[in-house]
Symmetry: C2
Subunit: 133 residues, 2 copies
């Protein structure tokens, strides 16, 4: 089987980010690449986390918010009270995302309506230009 870990350059190519970004995320404790001598090796876990990080960014979550949310996806066999707390947080996050989904649907609907208006305006313009010949 293949290496299962990726170098920093492979990561950059795969996710379209810079080395600086990956090191920055590591410094912020969002990623935990292992070290082979001096160099970083990114694991499957790092790749999963990076995917979630980039997704979070597209929805305007700060890196600090993302860092906390990442724990929801790795609730490392804790105490019952800890698991319950995780569920609580996840529930709040879920509601947040559902709200965003509604907002996004609204935005899409409004944009479509607006595009229809513009299309009509365009038809009118070209119709009147034909009539003027």
């Amino acid at each position: 089987m293949s290496t299962d870990t990726m170098t920093i350059r492979e990561m950059c190519d795969a996710f379209d980010v810079t080395p600086r970004t990956l090191r920055f995320y590591e410094a912020k404790e969002l990623l935990f690449p292992i070290r082979k001598g001096q160099k970083r090796l990114f694991t499957r876990r790092d790749r999963a986390r990076l995917k979630l990080i980039l997704r979070g960014k597209r929805f305007a979550f700060s890196l600090e918010e993302i860092r906390q949310l990442l724990n929801l996806y790795e609730p490392g066999n804790g105490q019952a009270t800890q698991l319950a707390r995780t569920l609580e947080l996840a529930g709040g996050h879920l509601r947040d995302m559902e709200d965003r989904r509604r907002e996004l649907d609204d935005a899409i609907g409004e944009l479509r309506a607006q595009m229809n208006l513009v299309t009509e305006m365009l038809n009118d313009v070209s119709a009147s230009s034909r009539a003027a010949e």
Copy 2:
């Protein structure tokens, strides 16, 4: 009928932003409040734009991107070529938002799955603690 315009304070209360933010958006040409003497008066148009601005921010658009997108909602009776260009831009934006919706749906699905896992873990923990009595 009532004034139809709002003071800066009324805007701040209505949209939960600071005066600084509204002046900043005006400086960036995202809002165009009229002036009554020294003071700003925000119109219905400004309120519609602000709503779109805040929405855009929640989806990680930069103010500059938002400024350009705002024009899609006010295609001021231009030339046919101009309207066509607007439609083009709007189409791109629409695809972008539809992509985001798919991504958001994925994220919601994954989070729900994760919550189910945690719920099971929680059940197991409390079951084993009962069995230990």
